[in-house]
């Protein structure tokens, strides 16, 4: 029984890590700030949940499980709030979504007005 729980728990940890890795790929690949924040925060909470659940299965019913539950609550509280703050700040500093029906900047408009590009050119 414990053997099976170990395997399931290990599998969940691996799946959680993979999910976080996909999130990192999403942060690199997605076109604008908002989709990137979305990728980072969603996979962070999901990946952490899976990994912590897996670790909880491995550790069994011990004080460690309670600590893992606390960590999970902390992650679920902070990551979405941080993503919200980040998106708020991006909106406040004038970043516009780039894709989909919400596209505000026409694709042929000059890009100089976009602060994200200004950041990027100044950083290089």
């Amino acid at each position: 029984m414990t053997e099976a729980l170990h395997w399931i728990g290990g599998g969940l940890v691996v799946i959680g890590s993979l999910l976080t890795l996909f999130g990192a790929v999403g942060v690199l690949r997605f076109p604008d700030v908002y989709t990137r924040i979305h990728a980072a925060s969603l996979t962070d909470t999901g990946g952490a949940t899976l990994a912590l659940l897996g670790l909880g299965l491995i550790s069994g019913l011990t004080p460690e499980t309670l600590k893992l539950a606390f960590i999970w609550a902390f992650v679920m509280l902070t990551t979405p709030a941080a993503a919200n703050a980040l998106a708020n700040a991006a909106y406040g500093s004038g970043h516009k979504p780039r894709i989909g029906a919400f596209q505000i900047i026409p694709s042929d408009a000059p890009r100089e007005t976009d602060p994200e590009d200004a950041d990027r050119s100044s950083s290089q």
Binding site: F74, T78, A81, D119, S123
Partner: protein, 354 residues
């Protein structure tokens, strides 16, 4: 299985160290200071993970709390006062510094070849004093965490020096930026739009928990990883988080500028005062065995910590407790004072922009 575990840990070491090198190169390469600061934060986090793999839990804790937490916030406060990018430098001006850096780095790598193997039991660090600490902590000092015993009791004088250094660093920053009287001039918070509500609710839920955790780290330092330095930083971070979310004016109402800087001095005084009390009672400076005179020690009930038959070193016990309290006070209020200094200056900077 153990061989496999050792190999895995070695592989993990290599991966983490390579990550550290990559982040270091990225920090050197980037021209955007904001990026550099965030990368330094990541650097601290990775090195904390690496120290954890090396079984140095206390150091890893400090690195995570100070490097990835507090210093990032303070550096971000500093960058508000300056421009966000490094100046472009002609390559000819970089030759001499680069040469110097390469020589220093080469010497350090050469010196590292002479270091003993990791975990070598016959190395000087592990053989003489270190082994003595490990063997005799239980009967001489008491706490289960040897790191705490070494830090607060055996090497109490060094730790007093560290506390004074932190206090002096805070004093230096305060002399440059001001103790934060300008922070009291913070503009009244504008009616915040509803779009900050998530942040405020999350902060309101987190700040009590962070404070509670700081005290857990403080008092759990005798048993596990943690101690006053980490706890002080965590406590300060709770105050800083409050300041960032609810505004400087509210924070100063809760933690006045004057209180922050006096408590910083009080902590050092408490630490040194414990040492002086030991001297008054006939011991050496910071020799906690002499903290209580025999009459006082006789008044302590034997079952204060539960088991009355277990032998306790009450002087050591309370000495470490008070000393750690002093460190907590100094560290937390020094960091808060530094934060106030930067925050007060950034009010000036914003006014200058207008």
């Amino acid at each position: 299985m153990t061989g496999f575990a050792v190999e895995m840990s070695a592989a993990l070491n290599v991966v983490l160290l390579l990550m550290l090198v990559a982040i270091g190169l990225a920090v050197a390469h980037t021209r955007n200071l904001l990026t550099a600061i965030l990368l330094m934060s990541v650097y601290s986090l990775v090195s904390a993970a690496w120290l954890m793999v090396m079984d140095a839990a206390d150091v890893a804790f400090t690195e995570a709390v100070v490097g990835a937490g507090a210093s990032t916030i303070i550096l971000l406060g500093a960058i508000l006062l300056t421009r966000g990018a490094t100046a472009r430098v002609d390559w000819r001006a970089m030759v001499a510094p680069a040469l110097l850096a390469v020589i220093t780095g080469g010497l350090l790598i050469y010196a590292s070849l002479g270091l003993p193997e990791f975990g070598d039991p016959s190395s000087p660090a592990n053989a003489y004093v270190g082994r003595m600490y490990l063997e005799r902590t239980g009967e001489e000092v008491g706490p289960h965490n040897v790191v705490t015993a070494v830090l607060a009791s055996y090497r109490g004088f060094d730790t007093l020096g560290e506390t004074v250094v932190i206090f002096a660093a805070g004093l230096g920053v305060a002399l440059m930026l001001g103790f934060g009287p300008r922070a009291t001039l913070a503009p009244a918070p504008e009616k915040m739009g509803d779009h900050h509500v998530v942040l405020r609710v999350a902060a309101k839920m987190l700040i009590p928990l962070i404070t509670l955790y700081a005290f857990y780290v403080q008092f759990h330092g005798d048993l596990g990883a943690g101690g006053a330095f980490q706890a002080g930083v965590i406590l300060a971070v709770a105050v800083i988080l409050y300041g960032l979310v609810f505004g400087l004016r509210e924070t100063i109402a809760a933690v006045p500028v004057k209180a922050a800087r006096s408590v910083a001095a009080l902590g050092v005084m408490l630490y040194a005062g414990i040492g002086v009390i030991c001297m008054v009672n006939g011991g050496a400076f910071l020799d906690y065995d002499y903290l209580f005179s025999p009459q006082v020690e006789a008044m302590i009930p034997a079952n204060l910590l539960g088991d009355p038959h277990e032998e306790h070193h009450w002087g050591q016990h309370f000495g470490i407790l008070f000393v750690e309290l002093g460190v907590l006070l100094t560290v937390s209020s020094t960091i808060v004072t530094i934060f106030y200094g930067f925050a007060g200056r950034s009010i000036d900077a914003e006014e200058a922009k207008r």
